[in-house]
Amino acid sequence: MYLKTLHLRHFRNYREQQVEFLAPKTILVGENAQGKSNLLEAVELLATLRSHRALRDRELVLDNAQAGQIAAQLERDSGTVDLAITLRSNSRRTVSLNGETLKRQLDFLGIMNAVQFSSLDLDLVRGSPSERRNWLDTLLTQLEPVYAYILQQYNTVLRQRNALLKQQRSPHETWRVAEAAHPPDSTQLAIWDAQLAAIGCRVIRRRARVIERLAPLAQHWHQAISGSRELLEVRYAPNVQLGEDDPLLVQQAFLEKLQMRAIAEQHQGTTLVGPHRDEVEFTINQTPARQYGSQGQQRTLVLALKLAELKLIEAIVGEPPLLLLDDVLAELDLNRQNKLLDTIQDRFQTLITTTHLGSFDAQWLKSSQILTVEAGQISM
């Protein structure tokens, strides 16, 4: 797929900006804080409806403006599509496809695919499990848009169940027992349990499925980049064990584990069982990558994961996704830069940000469109 044009209006520090992408590779060059990452963020939003930097839409809208817009024209094998997202500082966003507002945001997902790679991605190795769950969820959302809906349902059930557990928590010693306003409602809790298990099971099975397909690709790329000395393993470690891939058995295991942790849950007033506690483990030659590591090895791992994502999306969607490289290219040594270059060739449209062109391989520069970003304005 190919992003032909991008139009930003009142988005981040852009007032009104039209960008035409004229080559498979575009380098966005500019000083710090000029709007390079903001532009990639706009593309990320088009692909996933999520931003890894913003918690609220309000942050995405130009300061003091009511609403902002990201519009794009995307070429796919099946034809050209117009995508648009309207972000509002005080109400919900809306999305439209070919000029028509969509009732379900779900229908917007999966039309444009992108893999984002920034220096923050080192946190995939070094950060907390939630970083890895987030990464996995973002990938899944692109591969199976319905997953966004399942995940949202799961999170709602989780919040509701936590609220109920908190209400029913055995009163603190200093409180009088008579003040426990809510006696335990075991019927209600059992229903939330059943929903948590049913929806949680869908989350777990999808996560397992995608890791199963991603792992061999990541292993391949890790070997290719590191010169085939190291063996990378990517393993899904779900909180509820996934013995056999039978939804009923997984649900049953889920409910049994809930039962086992019931007292602890009552005590802590929060849900201790479920995919919100999943982990993805990376090991290199059977040593956890987090401990293994030189920065170089961790970078190789993340690069391998990103290349695996590209290939997986391409295999499943049937078209090469976009690649967004935020500041990372300069951080890679020439060997890794070249591996990346070999892989993407001209097949994966790539947007690259940098503060200076000096660290680039001449090959990259030659075949790229170079745009200058300055204070929310882009010039050729």
Binding site: K103, V157, T187, Q188, I191, W192, A194, Q195
Partner: protein, 182 residues
């Protein structure tokens, strides 16, 4: 006010300020009367100016079937389909611990009593398929199953959709395709 953004609110306010005083007086009076006169039906909890609503009083409606909904707006939406000829019961919301809504905050006990006392052949749960809706449906279903047959309407409705926004054809079809609660 729900569903009214700051711009619309401003437009409404300006519009009212421009009207003659008598008009504004009449509007204020109407609002006040609505507030004073409209309450809840003592049987089904639908909005009603009388102690017992028109639907509960109607003798040509099937008294052995109760359709359970979250809100009065859902009664209005279902009535528009002209497909349903039984009675209603309005719960007054959904179970949602986050919002402090438990079974005790809803008209559930009243429903159980109603089903217990009267000869009810079927209770139809017509509640949106959100996770809160699902929990409410299952909860009420469990309480009622010892007394009567409980069914739920078939949802081909838009995801996360409200009954209120479902078009009439979809709603009528959902009503026809209802199935028994497990």
């Amino acid at each position: 006010m729900p569903g009214v953004g700051p711009k619309t609110a401003q437009r409404l306010a300006l519009h009212i300020l421009k009207r003659p005083e008598a008009d504004v007086q009449a509007l204020a009076q109407a609002l006040l009367e609505a507030k004073q006169q409209v309450g809840f039906c003592s049987i089904c909890f639908h909005l009603s100016a009388e102690p017992v609503c028109e639907i509960c009083r109607a003798s040509n409606r099937d008294p052995h079937t109760i359709c359970v909904v979250a809100d009065s707006r859902d009664v209005i939406a279902l009535e528009r389909t002209r497909e349903y000829e039984g009675k209603y019961h309005v719960l007054g919301g959904l179970i949602s611990p986050m919002d402090g809504m438990g079974p005790d905050q809803l008209n559930i006990t009243q429903l159980v009593r109603r089903v217990n006392k009267q000869d009810i052949k079927e209770v139809i749960m017509a509640i949106s398929p959100s996770v809160e809706g699902e929990t409410t449906t299952l909860y009420v279903g469990q309480l009622l199953k010892p007394f009567t047959k409980v069914t739920r309407i078939a949802f081909g409705l838009p995801m996360g959709g409200d009954l209120e926004y479902a078009d009439e054809v979809t709603l009528a079809r959902a009503m026809e395709g209802r199935r028994e609660l497990e």
